[in-house]
């Protein structure tokens, strides 16, 4: 997360030089706070306490005009003797580096002020891209990143599915800076991460989860996919399967901001973790059950797996696409009226259409496809989940109230070397009620891993409320000093 955390009341640029400045590798800049070198890193001194930033996170550190950089080779010593310092892969005079930093600090300070000025929905910013109309309260740089990737996503889907232009202009995408504002303004119920309004006027509403940007991205892709599916035929409502399953397939996409490239159809590792547990229990969802079920949870897990298999690992990609488009447009498909003047298909018709398009004329052929799909799943599961998969699986289990499973997966992720501060934070929140010392230990680890994320300090402070009120208050205050944009209400909602 690129953001500048500083005290806005501080006359930042009154100081002529950048005597005390800390630039982290993730782009965070700390300025206007005293910095103290110490063993293992640098302490940032806030009114409510010192925060240790480990050396491994530091990109540039200047304290009292003195470089943190210590020349180690003759070449470096020679350059240092000439007054040069390393900065972003180049050697340059310290003065030039200071000027660059000062300018960057000023720009980011202005950006923070600007972001705060647009934080309420009444002050939202608006922007249009080729296919979307955005309204947003997220910081500008967050919007820019997502706006760009959503356009690429549209193009990728359009290429595969030959969608039609929308009847009533571009889709409105409403992007909120916090869950609280999302629930308040969008009218979404609690627990909802995002929604796409599938009757006109369409709009897509979601919030930016600052602590889990990957989740935000996947949710965006998932919900946007419902819109894109709609553009196959706006008068048709896709049934839960395969609608949600295809949305999950496209939800597993990733954007490379450097190459400006979108990769779709990645493995949904969180879903895979759920399937792995089902298989371990001896439960396998059959093809027939998936095709004829109505509104099953498994449409997100086994349904995703089927779509992924058909699109990525089988010779049926084209046939599956024909089936999918045919549900809405095919002449042979019998559609029935649904709500809001839309049409849909019943499960039996859906199953018949699937078999027709994939050439499954006999029960044996259905069984053969099922076996091939399950064999692919077995093989995929056998390769084992990555640490990231375990993190996602744990977060999913937690969000669905399966605490024991979440605990196991969190612990396995940590044992696998997870250095994800958010994962530590959520694991701590899970353990807080039953094992406070362990929860505190995890929160302490969270603030070590991400020392300039106010949320984790705030959570640690809140957890100490009963045992050490003064420390609790200090840490909560510190959290606000670290992150002036900290939304405490959002934290309360998170638990």
């Amino acid at each position: 997360m690129r953001a500048l955390y500083l005290a806005l009341s501080c006359p930042l640029l009154a100081t002529p030089s950048v005597a005390d400045v800390l630039v982290l590798k993730d782009g965070t800049i700390v300025q206007g706070r005293p910095l103290e070198r110490s063993e293992g890193g640098v302490h940032v001194v806030y009114p409510s306490g010192k925060v240790l930033v480990p050396t491994e996170l530091v990109h540039v550190l200047v304290v009292g005009g003195v470089e943190s950089f210590q020349p180690a080779t003759d070449e470096e010593r020679e350059k240092a003797a000439r007054g040069l310092v390393p900065f972003e892969g180049q050697w340059m005079p310290a003065k030039k580096r200071d000027q660059l930093l000062a300018r960057r600090v000023a720009e980011q300070e202005a950006q923070v002020r600007d972001n705060l000025a647009h934080r309420e929905w009444k002050d939202r910013r608006r922007a249009e891209t080729r296919n979307f109309r955005f309204e947003y309260t997220v910081p500008q740089h967050v919007f820019e990143a997502y706006g760009e990737r959503l356009e690429a996503y549209y193009q990728a889907f359009a290429k595969d599915w030959k969608i039609r232009p929308p009847r009533n202009g571009k889709l409105a995408v409403c992007f909120y800076a916090s869950p609280k504002e999302f629930h308040r303004t969008s009218g979404a119920g609690y627990g909802t991460l995002a929604y796409f309004r599938f009757v006109e006027p369409y709009d897509l509403n979601l919030y930016h989860d600052k602590l889990d940007a990957v989740l935000t991205e996947q949710v965006l892709y998932h919900e946007a996919n419902h819109y894109l599916q709609k553009l196959i035929d706006e008068d048709f409502k896709y049934p839960h399967f395969p609608g949600e399953s295809l949305a999950e397939y496209y939800g597993a996409s990733a954007w490379d901001p450097v190459k400006k490239k979108l990769t779709v159809g990645l493995l949904q590792e969180g879903r895979l973790a759920e399937i792995q547990d089902d298989i371990a229990r001896g439960e396998r969802l059959g093809l027939e059950a998936l095709l004829t079920g109505e509104g099953r949870y498994e449409d997100y897990t086994w349904g995703w797996a089927l779509v992924h298999y058909l699109m990525e690992a089988s010779p049926h990609r084209a046939a599956f696409q024909r089936f999918y488009v045919g549900l809405a447009l095919g002449k042979e498909v019998r559609r029935v009226p649904s709500s809001f003047g839309l049409t849909t298909v019943e499960p039996a018709e859906l199953a018949a259409s699937f078999k027709r398009e994939l050439g499954l004329k006999t029960a044996e052929q259905v069984s053969a496809l099922e076996q091939a799909w399950h064999a692919w799943l077995d093989q995929t599961v056998a390769t084992g989940l990555t640490t990231r998969g375990k993190e996602l699986g744990a977060l999913k289990a937690l969000s669905t109230g399966r605490k024991l499973r979440a605990k196991r997966l969190f612990q396995e992720a940590l044992d696998g070397g997870s250095r994800n501060a958010f994962v530590h934070h959520k694991y701590a929140s899970l353990l807080e009620g039953e094992d406070k010392p362990r929860a505190l230990e995890l929160w302490r680890r969270s603030v070590e891993l991400a020392p300039l994320t106010g949320t984790y300090w705030h959570a640690l402070g809140r957890a100490l409320a009963a045992s050490d009120k003064a420390e609790s208050e200090r840490l909560k205050k510190l959290a606000r000093e670290i992150d002036p944009e900290l939304d405490e209400d959002a934290l309360v909602w998170d638990f």
Partner: protein, 561 residues
């Protein structure tokens, strides 16, 4: 010049006279000496009373006209009506602080300390976040100002996304008085805002403080979710202690209800109710008489349930119109929310359709709920779906004819069931009476056949309470036997639950997964519910042979036919 002055003087005198006339005709200002404020609602707007258990709303007015909005989007075309409302909500600083600090209550055995936090609203925006259900909203303008010598925060709120009856505008002025913030909130359809603007702003501007002469500001800051405390305390101790607490609660609520009545309302202390009404007294008396007859029927027919328990006298409000009733029921909730009732209060209105109307349906059902809740809450909550639905439906149809209570049937459901019988789609009675709530609703699947089952459950209960059933040895006391057995099973399981309380928490991932899957299937029965149904069935029908079931089935179908 002199002529001109004279004409102008006469004109001014005429204006003054008209103005004086207008003042005499204008609606009286609403004054509240306890909270210390006064407000002039728009002309013609009706004051709506507060429910006795309402802690935040201090005044409410309902517009005498309706506005309309038509959804022109594809697939809709619906036209919605909406009645503007004006509310005053008080945020007493001391109450908020008290609620945050919590209150110590007597802890259960083995627990050192229990502190109850009543979760008060922090301020007006927090209140909106937690109560507004008319759609997604945002504050579109915020201004600090002064009005009538008070600092005021003026808020304009737009309700746009997922707006249930159309986009709306809320204009709220939060007056910051000593020790209390008063949010004066007006809500109107966006499309009607311009038309109503002058009247609404006039009301908002008219707010001013007056001396508080009725004691200190109230500090009861609980929100709806904090009320379980009083319910739980009324369930503890001996029957005599419970009676004492219930009577104290009843008295307090009755006193509050009387205290907050707006002009035009009357009070009558009825033997079974506190009767409050602003409709004609005859209509209110009829509602009270019918309700009292139903309670007497419950005393007599179901008297074995919680025999020693004191049943509190509900507050029965009879409004003049449906709109007033709905506004009162909603309380602080959005003007297009559904009203809901959870306390000791039943709100109804004069039924324009008389005895054929549906108002008494709701009243009767609520009365049975309140009666059962005070008699034995666990039986009330634990009643299997078929018997619960059947009893509800039975009492819904209760109407007083002369001095006799008659129970009419729900013709729609009865017809559904008769059709189901003709088509052979009805459930065997032996299956029906073994269904859990989830099975009764068939929520795991697609609710198919639900109407048939509801109609069948109603018909079974009606049959079991009929003279026809009363004449047969097999069915004469069957329903009461079933309910008695249910009571005994619930009592047994109460002890069982106390010993097993922590076993419900899954110990392994497999158990957790099982539980998750059960929960994922909405309405799925808990093990406890299954146990209640099973044991009650065994005790009531355990000795029945196939022949007995055939006889029961035949007698029932003969009755239905």
């Amino acid at each position: 010049m002199g002529r001109s002055i004279g004409m102008r003087a006469r004109a001014l005198a005429l204006v003054a006279a008209l103005a004086a006339g207008a003042r005499t005709e204008a609606q009286a200002a609403h004054e509240d000496a306890r909270y210390g404020f006064k407000i002039q609602p728009p002309r013609g707007w009706k004051p709506i009373p507060r429910k006795a258990e309402e802690n935040w709303l201090v005044a409410k007015f309902l517009c005498d006209e309706k506005d309309h909005w038509t959804d022109k989007n594809k697939g809709s075309g619906w036209t919605w009506e909406h009645q503007p409302e004006l509310m005053v909500i008080a945020f007493v600083a001391a109450a908020i602080e008290k609620g945050k600090q919590g209150e110590e209550v007597e802890p259960p055995e083995g627990v050192d300390e229990v502190r109850v936090f009543t979760n008060p609203y922090e301020d007006y925006e927090d209140y909106l976040d937690r109560t507004y259900s008319g759609g997604g909203f945002y504050v579109s303008a915020r201004e600090e100002d002064t009005s009538n010598d008070l600092p005021v925060t003026k808020l304009e709120i737009k309700v746009e996304k997922l707006a249930t009856t159309g986009p709306k505008r809320i204009v709220t002025w939060v007056y910051h008085a000593e020790g209390v913030d008063f949010a004066v909130q007006a809500e109107v359809l966006e499309s009607a805002f311009d038309k109503r603007k002058a009247a609404l702003l006039g009301a908002l501007r008219s707010f001013r403080t007056i001396p508080r002469t009725h004691g200190p500001l109230p500090t009861e800051a609980g929100t709806a979710d904090g009320l379980f405390i009083s319910f739980s305390s009324m369930r503890k101790g001996t029957p005599a202690e419970r009676k004492e607490r219930r009577q104290a609660s009843e008295l307090a609520l009755h006193a509050r209800a009387k205290r907050s009545l707006p002009p035009g309302w009357q009070v009558r202390d009825h033997e079974r109710f506190l009767l409050l009404f602003n409709t004609d007294p005859g209509a209110a008396d009829k509602v009270a008489a019918a309700g009292a007859a139903l309670l007497a029927w419950a005393d007599e027919s179901l008297g074995f349930i919680g025999k020693e328990e004191y049943v509190r006298r509900p507050i029965l409000r009879v409004c003049a119109t449906t709109e007033e009733k709905e506004s009162l029921q909603r309380g602080v909730h959005a003007s297009d929310s559904f009203g809901f009732e959870w306390g000791l209060e039943i709100v109804t209105c004069k039924d324009e359709r008389g005895a054929t109307g549906w108002e008494m349906d709701w009243v009767n059902q609520r009365l049975l709920d309140l009666w059962l809740r005070d008699r034995d809450e666990e039986i009330w909550l634990g009643m299997p779906g078929w018997v619960g639905h059947g009893l509800d439906s039975y009492v819904e149809g209760a109407r007083l004819s002369g001095r006799k209570l008659k129970f009419r049937e729900d013709e729609w459901l009865s017809e559904d069931f008769r059709l189901a019988v003709k088509q052979g789609k009805h459930a065997p009675l032996r299956d029906l009476v073994q269904m859990t709530g989830g099975q009764f609703l068939d929520a795991d699947n697609d609710f198919s056949g639900l109407w048939n089952r509801m109609g069948q459950a109603d018909a079974v209960v009606r049959f079991l309470l009929s003279p026809e059933a009363g004449r047969k040895q097999q069915t004469k006391t069957l329903l009461f036997d079933y309910l008695r057995n249910l009571r005994d099973v619930v009592l047994e399981l109460r002890d069982f639950d106390e010993g097993q309380e922590k076993v419900a928490e899954p110990k392994t991932e497999e158990e957790e997964e099982e539980l998750y899957r059960k929960r994922a299937k909405a309405w799925q029965a808990t093990e406890r519910e299954q146990e209640v149904v099973k044991r009650t069935f065994q005790r009531t029908f355990g000795g029945w042979s196939d022949k007995d079931w055939q006889a029961f089935e035949k007698a029932f179908l003969d009755f239905v036919d």
